[in-house]
Symmetry: C2
Subunit: 274 residues, 2 copies
Amino acid sequence: MSTLTVPAQVPSAAEDCEQLRKAFSELTNDFERAVKLWTLDPAERDAFLANEATKKWTSSNQVLVEIACARSPQELLLARQAYHARFKKSLEEDVAHHTTGDFRKLLVPLVSSYRYDGDEVNMTLAKTEAKILHENILKKAYSHEDLIRILATRSKAQINATLNRYKNEFGQDINKDLKADPKDEFLAILRATVKCLTCPEKYFGKVLRLAINKRGTDEEGLTRVVVTRAEVDMQVIKEVFYKRNTVPLDHAIAKDTRGDYEKMLLALTGHRDA
Amino acid sequence: MSTLTVPAQVPSAAEDCEQLRKAFSELTNDFERAVKLWTLDPAERDAFLANEATKKWTSSNQVLVEIACARSPQELLLARQAYHARFKKSLEEDVAHHTTGDFRKLLVPLVSSYRYDGDEVNMTLAKTEAKILHENILKKAYSHEDLIRILATRSKAQINATLNRYKNEFGQDINKDLKADPKDEFLAILRATVKCLTCPEKYFGKVLRLAINKRGTDEEGLTRVVVTRAEVDMQVIKEVFYKRNTVPLDHAIAKDTRGDYEKMLLALTGHRDA
């Protein structure tokens, strides 16, 4: 699903150097950030993004959910190891220290999780836990320990089975039920958790849509999603994006960005002329 | 600190086989369990013990605390990986599922932790967090989220600094203050947590003392400590044991056990004639 393409004529190392030198002398902030993030390996990049998120954490910040839930369990573990090496602390220690209340109750177990990664599913458990989720949502007990336990410890395959059961039994998507108050930021982060666990492409497609449609463009979100998903599932994200917005992602990016920053994002999303 | 010794004349493989065959035909339950645990590698053994502990979990069960806190962060991680491979589930998932209330609030973050393993210590933080611990203990808020957060996420070096500060500032060991009600099992598990994090040899010395002094001997505890610490810190545990009980550990073991089980425990504790 990688979207990077290699030019027909591969440039020499000397040409690469010269192009890089030129590019660096004209780095803008957005381009600089994109280059910096792109040069890190995925685990180091996640450690960097997670640390940044804990330091300037706000309740609308969903980066930690992305790192905890949209990566594989093994990738999250590598990010935690990279966090130790770079910051001489643990990720969960910083998350716990910088968050409070319901957000802490959810985020600390999410970033500490090391989920089982297999496909095995227990249908009896799915039934029981769909009921537990529904009962708590009915009572608006959104931060109930059992609700958080299920989302933070079960394997993605098991959670998917539980949420399918939820839909069959209770008539609609759990995320519809988690939209009782669209302005509630804890509910928003719960919905992000569910989406990152079960349909990350849709989640990232939406983050891109919101980042681009925002007045002034949210370059931070745009860069983050493009850089972190380029070598993962960008092809699917592009399809989801087009289906939802009737505009190809590269057109939308080209319209809202410019210069080297634009070129880099287009290259990472697999735009042919980049 | 290993306590295993190699015989002066190493037996041939054939002699070993014959001895093993004989031994297996006379396995007693205790000996069988000791052999079984000893044949597993440390991570698999911890996964096995942890699974056993979740399945028959009682509030007096401290095995999960030992695995979460007396191992290195890397060893705990390996145990969690072994748990996936063996049980097709995650350790934290089973712990969360089988525990309730304050015990769940403490045990899930403990077994999910991946602490920073370095020696760096932040003295300002030690001062702040010693105060947080003391305030919560004064209020008998033993399961307060900040108290658990500190014990479950900080590095062992940092926790040690915090508890030293606690002692200097508030006049006595935190574990004295955590003994307000000696019969409270949650307090007992908090004390075990503190000891496993800061002085595991003392903790295991005490488990051995209680296992041996119990009417009828607690073979499960005795076997577990001997097998899991044989290649780690048994030498220090023996010194601690002797200092506290004025009886050498091997004498105490020989007095309370017999047959192959006795011989195996003595061999693992480094008894010369074993």
